[in-house]
């Protein structure tokens, strides 16, 4: 009688643990559509165009603008 109770108890415990694990996993599903953080910059490189008698390439981490520059880089 005692052995039967132990077997029944172990079985119930096993099923309960499995059920709780299933509930937990279901409620913590990975969202495969979530965006990467931080976002990865485009690996396509920068834009290249002719400028001042040469070729100017501007990568994705530098922002071109049409505002008036306050100073410039130059050879001295």
């Amino acid at each position: 009688m005692r052995a039967v109770l132990l077997k029944v108890g172990a079985t119930v415990l096993t099923f309960a643990t499995t059920a709780m694990a299933a509930v937990y996993v279901t409620s913590h599903l990975k969202n495969s559509a979530a965006p990467l953080r931080p976002t990865v910059l485009s690996a396509t490189g920068g834009a290249t165009f002719s400028a001042a008698g040469g070729s100017l390439t501007v990568g994705p981490s530098v922002q071109p603008s049409d505002v008036q520059p306050v100073t410039s880089t130059y050879a001295s």
Binding site: G45, G46, A51, A52, G53, G54, S55, L56, T57, V58, G59, S61, V62, Q63, P64, S65, D66, V67, Q68, P69, V70, T71, S72, T73, Y74, A75, S76
Partner: protein, 277 residues
């Protein structure tokens, strides 16, 4: 969201060139302090004065010489530049400068070139040792900091001027902060305007500081003025010092390898072909 910030600017001549400082929410006194910082450091790092710290270090070649924190930092940066450029940026270039006749500020004119005395440069780590508070230059070698010092100073000036500032030291730029309108500092690079934010820019050229067929940009592999298909390179990189190293290296390696090198080390770059290339 864009915002307008009051920007103080200051322009002055120093280091044989022109300098400009821009900083948000800073006083005129802060800008003048920046100018004095440039002048003080320039006087210690120039090779044109026998009394400068650099000249005294060169004069003490062969033995250890006590140096200040700033010169120590520039020398350590120069050793890094040598590594970054695979040996092409080498400040042990003074003997070649003397050989090409660049013995004094160009405002006083060049002297006679004796190119047959120029030799390939020895590797910088073989002729320059730096330890805390002291440095040693090997006998027969001598240092000229050149553009390395300008790029380094542009970066340090940004620290001096505060969290939202732009420093232009003879064409070598350092920029920190969001700029006057929150989207960076507008800077002209090869005729285009680029917004710099936590970045630097520099230009290396053989078109300036030249006389006759000689110019000041030395190829350490020959000890003579470099001659590639490039005449001028402008670079935007993570800082003024890095931009200076990348621009000079790109010009030295020439038009075939420069695009790939710049793609690996720069954020933006302009390659100007030589007039005869």
């Amino acid at each position: 969201m864009r915002r307008n910030t009051a920007v103080e600017s200051h322009h002055f001549a120093a280091l044989g060139t022109n300098c400009s400082l821009f900083a948000a929410d800073r006083s005129r006194a802060d800008m003048l302090e920046g100018e004095f910082w440039v002048r003080r450091l320039g006087a210690r790092l120039t090779r044109f004065s026998a009394d400068s710290e650099l000249s005294q270090l060169n004069a003490a070649a062969g033995g250890w010489f006590g140096i200040g924190e700033d010169l120590e930092a520039v020398l350590r940066a120069s050793l890094n530049a040598f590594e970054m450029s695979a040996g092409l940026v080498n400040i042990a270039v003074l003997p070649s400068m003397v050989a090409i006749g660049y013995t004094r500020p160009l405002s006083e004119g060049a002297t006679v070139a004796t190119l047959d005395t120029a030799r390939p440069l020895r590797a910088l780590p073989d002729v320059l040792s730096v330890r805390r508070g002291a440095a040693r230059v090997a006998s027969g070698s001598a240092l000229d900091l050149g553009g390395i010092a300008k790029g380094w100073m542009a970066d340090r000036l940004c620290e001096v001027l505060g969290p939202n500032a732009l420093a232009n030291v003879g064409g070598d730029l350092g920029a920190v902060g969001a700029g006057p309108e929150g989207n960076g500092w507008p800077v002209a690079v090869a005729g285009a305007t680029l917004m710099l934010r936590g970045q630097g820019a520099a230009t290396s050229s053989v078109r300036r500081r030249r006389w006759g067929a000689v110019h000041h940009l030395i190829d350490p592999r020959t000890g003579l003025p470099v001659r590639t298909g490039l005449a001028e390179v402008s670079v935007v990189a993570a800082g003024g010092f890095q931009a200076e190293v990348v621009a000079k290296t790109a010009l030295l390696i020439g038009p075939e390898l420069a695009p790939a090198y710049c793609a690996a080390h720069a954020l933006a770059w302009w390659l100007g072909a030589a007039d005869d290339g």
